[in-house]
């Protein structure tokens, strides 16, 4: 099945702590992978993308992700989170002959003071 799986539906964390949001993709999903962020009542904003090349990808707002082909993972990390990082985070990948951009179920990151 074509799928992108986000292993945690919610991740609570204290401000200034590191965070990792986990994402795995099925073998039928291409290795064109993305992380998006959705703030309340807003659309989706691209955080970062992996298309090819270096497996460590840096994005906006201090986020980075590592592509791991052997583990079919694309986990998102930030060394020190802020209250303003509280949002829903979506992992996505190209599938269906790459025409489809399919999404994981989302991870709610809640940063507490």
């Amino acid at each position: 099945a074509q799928s992108v799986t986000q292993l945690d539906s919610q991740v609570p964390v204290f401000e200034e702590a590191p965070v990792e949001l986990r994402c795995n993709y099925s073998s039928s999903v291409s290795v064109y992978l993305f992380w998006y962020v959705q703030y309340p009542n807003q659309g989706l904003q691209l955080l970062l993308k992996y298309l090819s090349g270096s497996t460590l990808v840096k994005g906006i707002n201090g986020f980075e992700a590592e592509f791991n082909k052997s583990q079919t993972s694309f986990h998102l990390r930030k060394p020190s989170v802020h209250i303003s990082d509280t949002a829903e985070y979506f992992c996505a990948g190209r599938s269906g002959g790459y025409n489809k951009l399919i999404f994981g179920a989302g991870t709610r990151l809640a940063v507490h003071p």
């Binding site: 291409s30 064109y32 659309g43 904003q45 691209l46 993308k49 399919i102 999404f103 989302g106 709610r108």
Partner: protein
């Protein structure tokens, strides 16, 4: 200058009505999409157009009809609205349909009463 814009932002309507949501992108992209986000934040692709041609038509009731008058516009018409159609509908665009990210509009929150 909004890249992908949808109108209206909010839409409240009664069951059985017909309504349309409009989408325009000024990015010069050749591919546009409609996604549905349910109450659990799950994002599911509905349709995709490339150069005004339908390339993805997921399992969507035929009450939903997309129309692309040109590459910059993709509208969504919904007939005989049902309670279960209540959701946030997102329009998106990309350059190409293969290995690129999609840019999203702010969403249209449809509430059927």
């Amino acid at each position: 200058d909004t890249a992908v814009s949808q109108t209206p932002k909010y839409l409240v309507t009664q069951m059985g009505n017909d309504k349309s949501i409009k989408c325009e992108q000024n990015l010069g992209h050749d591919t546009m999409y409609w996604y549905k986000q349910d109450s659990k934040k799950f994002l599911k692709i509905m349709f995709s157009y490339n150069n005004k041609e339908l390339i993805i038509n997921e399992t969507v009731p035929n009450r939903f009809s997309p129309k692309s008058p040109d590459k910059a516009h993709l509208n969504l018409h919904i007939n005989s609205l049902e309670l279960g159609d209540s959701a946030v509908y997102f329009c998106a665009s990309s350059q190409g349909a293969k290995n690129t990210e999609a840019f999203f509009g702010q969403g249209t929150r449809l509430t059927v009463v």
